[in-house]
């Protein structure tokens, strides 16, 4: 038997009750539309917030931490092996904060297929001096081109261009907060003094604003060589190695490998920024909970309307059965009706969801904290539209199932005999 007949009957029933059909569809439309808007906006926001930290945070940061040695000389002594050691006032010994023998490490990391790229960083504690004011801060010597490629450095440059740094050995990309405090402008000179007393005059080639005030008030970027020079350190002096992976999920495992293999500190992004993941998860949970609730409400609407329809259609069901439609056919007719309501409502819902998302993404959103963002962030991932459609189909199917089964069990004899 061709299903066309059943579809035709289902369609005719719905078209004969345009208002009821529209109301039932509207429930689905509302559910799907809200779902798409909510989830697009929420994930857009999540992406923005994550990006604020995660995109520019290395997946693994390798450095040499100053800490007291874990083993004290007395513990190595055979003589006192089984004795109780009591040592007072342990202090870390004078050691270099540079990553020792870093060339083989860099070479090994570059060969690793999981690694997208690495940048060596030379950190320095400095004072910015302008007139009579001294401001303490951090200077990072970086390879600005790699930094831009791997950590979206360019997104945080508010004035000037990050490439200018590569062309100017005495250039500096200064934190916007520092610049404001010292009343500095592009192409001005700033004097920088290292903790060891070395002074340098650097030309401001760009402004940098991350949106996190703590960073913007402290941090500046220079070339690696500049940072080494100001500390009076040789060319192999590197304080940090920043690693970016292709897949962030490898970060934990790789960090542990590096710790074991090279006896260095390696912090992975997941350990360092656990709260971001939690926030993302909870926001996603709320989005899905709200949308599913809306869809379930829509499902009850469909259930109600189909139940009513079947009650009104008892005669028709009896005739259909008398003329040779089986219970299965009747069930299908009503299931088709539920699904049609779902499809119509779902499609309109997707359109409304998309339109709403576009409207949101065109709404201005200017904030001091996010210099490069001008509109609300919206994630137009087609995945959400697919999920929405699947949700709509599932809810309407299950909402239609019970009424449809009831319809299939109608006894035509009872109806036709008028009992």
């Amino acid at each position: 038997m061709p299903p066309g007949v059943l579809l035709k009957i289902a369609r005719t029933h719905l078209l004969a009750r345009k208002r009821q059909t529209a109301i039932a569809s509207l429930g689905v439309t509302f559910g799907i539309g809200t779902f798409v808007i909510l989830v697009s906006f929420m994930t857009g926001l999540n992406g923005l917030l994550d990006g604020l930290i995660l995109n520019r945070t290395p997946h693994i940061r390798i450095y040499n931490e100053i800490k007291p040695s874990e083993t004290q000389p007395i513990q190595n002594s055979e003589k006192y092996k089984n004795s109780l050691h009591v040592i007072h006032s342990i202090k870390p010994k004078q050691s270099k904060i540079s990553i020792y023998n870093n060339q083989p490490l860099i070479a090994a990391l570059k060969k690793d297929p999981r690694v997208k790229g690495i940048t060596p960083v030379v950190g320095a504690r400095v004072f910015y001096v302008s007139g009579a004011i001294q401001l303490n801060g951090n200077l990072f010597g970086v390879d600005v081109q790699e930094q831009t490629r791997l950590f979206n450095f360019g997104d945080y440059i508010t004035k000037g261009k990050s490439e200018n740094l590569a062309n100017n050995e005495n250039g500096i990309i200064i934190g916007a907060g520092v610049a404001k405090k010292l009343s500095l402008n592009l192409n001005d000179y700033v004097q920088v003094i290292s903790t060891t007393g070395q002074k340098m005059r650097l030309k401001i080639v760009a402004f940098f604003q991350s949106g996190l005030a703590d960073i913007d008030n402290m941090q500046s970027y220079v070339n690696i060589k500049t940072s080494q020079r100001i500390q009076g350190m040789p060319r192999d002096f590197i304080t940090d190695i920043h690693v970016k992976l292709w897949d962030i999920n490898h970060a934990v495992g790789m960090a542990a490998e590096i710790r074991n293999k090279f006896q260095l500190n390696a912090v992975d992004i997941i350990a360092a920024n656990a709260q971001f993941e939690t926030g993302t998860k909870i926001r996603n949970m709320i989005t899905y909970a709200v949308s599913i609730t809306l869809l379930i409400v829509a499902g009850f609407g469909i259930y109600n309307i189909l139940n009513m329809l079947i009650f009104q259609k008892m005669n028709d069901i009896a005739i259909l059965k008398a003329t040779g439609f089986s219970g299965k056919d009747v069930r299908r007719i009503f299931l088709y009706q539920a699904m049609m309501i779902g499809i119509i409502g779902g499609i309109i819902g997707l359109i409304i969801g998309y339109t709403g998302s576009v409207a949101i993404s065109k709404s201005p959103f200017e904030t001091e904290a996010l210099p490069t963002i001008h509109y609300f962030p919206v994630n137009f991932d087609p995945k959400f539209y697919v999920i929405g459609t699947v949700f709509a189909m599932l809810t309407t199917f299950f909402a239609g199932l019970m009424p449809a089964r009831k319809a299939s069990k109608v006894d035509p004899v009872e109806i036709l005999r008028g009992q």
Binding site: L15, S326, G327
Partner: protein
């Protein structure tokens, strides 16, 4: 004689509210092309018998054979398929689907059967409507035509799959005498083709008298 429908020792009870033995050892046979009417007082079980013969009521004792096929033990979907192909129905209250056009009402059982393509079915349906002289109503909604016309549409629908037997439950019970005559003449014409049998439950003695055979029932039994 080719026997289209036969029933043997049919017994039927209603248990609600009390045990009510409505059919007692009913046996009958309908030949091909025969025009048979069942008569009897209200409550004698004639409608109950018709619905058992129609395969819609499966809760009985005894055996029904349609087209030499025993209906006992068949699944609901199989019975539906038999109703679709071999039995046509005409009811007292015309029972058309109100949202569909006259033509669609006639076509639906054939579309369900699915043996012919849509154009062919539409052509057949128009032929039936023409034969019953109501082809001009084809595009109208089923609710927009008169009572006599509705009953003729119902007859056209019952004929669309060329069934072996057409069953009527008081098909003229709701019609005036003029329309009753029209319906009778249609049935007469159908049965005179000697291919399709007609079994009608009726109160109308004038109608019954003109059929080939009257089965008279009383108190759950066939008395004549």
């Amino acid at each position: 004689m080719d026997i289209v429908l036969s029933a043997k020792d049919i017994n039927k009870h209603f248990f609600d509210p009390i045990d009510n033995h409505v059919l007692k050892d009913v046996s009958l046979q309908i030949n091909r092309g025969e025009f048979v009417s069942i008569m009897g007082k209200s409550g004698c079980g004639k409608s109950t018998l018709l619905y058992i013969l129609s395969t819609m009521d499966t809760n009985y004792e005894g055996n029904v054979e349609l087209h030499h096929q025993n209906l006992r033990g068949l699944k609901n979907t199989e019975l539906a398929a038999i109703r679709n192909k071999r039995i046509g129905f005409v009811f007292q209250f015309h029972y058309l689907l109100p949202e569909f056009s006259v033509l669609d009402n006639v076509m639906l059982p054939a579309l369900r059967l699915g043996e012919k393509d849509k154009d062919e079915i539409e052509h057949d349906a128009m032929e039936k409507l023409k034969m019953l002289d109501i082809s001009e109503t084809a595009k109208k909604l089923a609710t927009r035509i008169s009572g006599g016309q509705k009953q003729r549409v119902a007859i056209a629908r019952s004929l669309i799959n060329d069934p072996d037997i057409i069953m009527g439950d008081e098909p003229t019970g709701n019609l005036d005498s003029k329309n009753s005559d029209v319906v009778f003449d249609i049935f007469r014409n159908i049965s005179s083709g000697k291919k399709q049998s007609i079994l009608v439950v009726t109160h109308d003695l004038d109608f019954a008298k003109r059929t080939d055979r009257i089965i008279e029932m009383a108190d759950g039994r066939i008395i004549h």
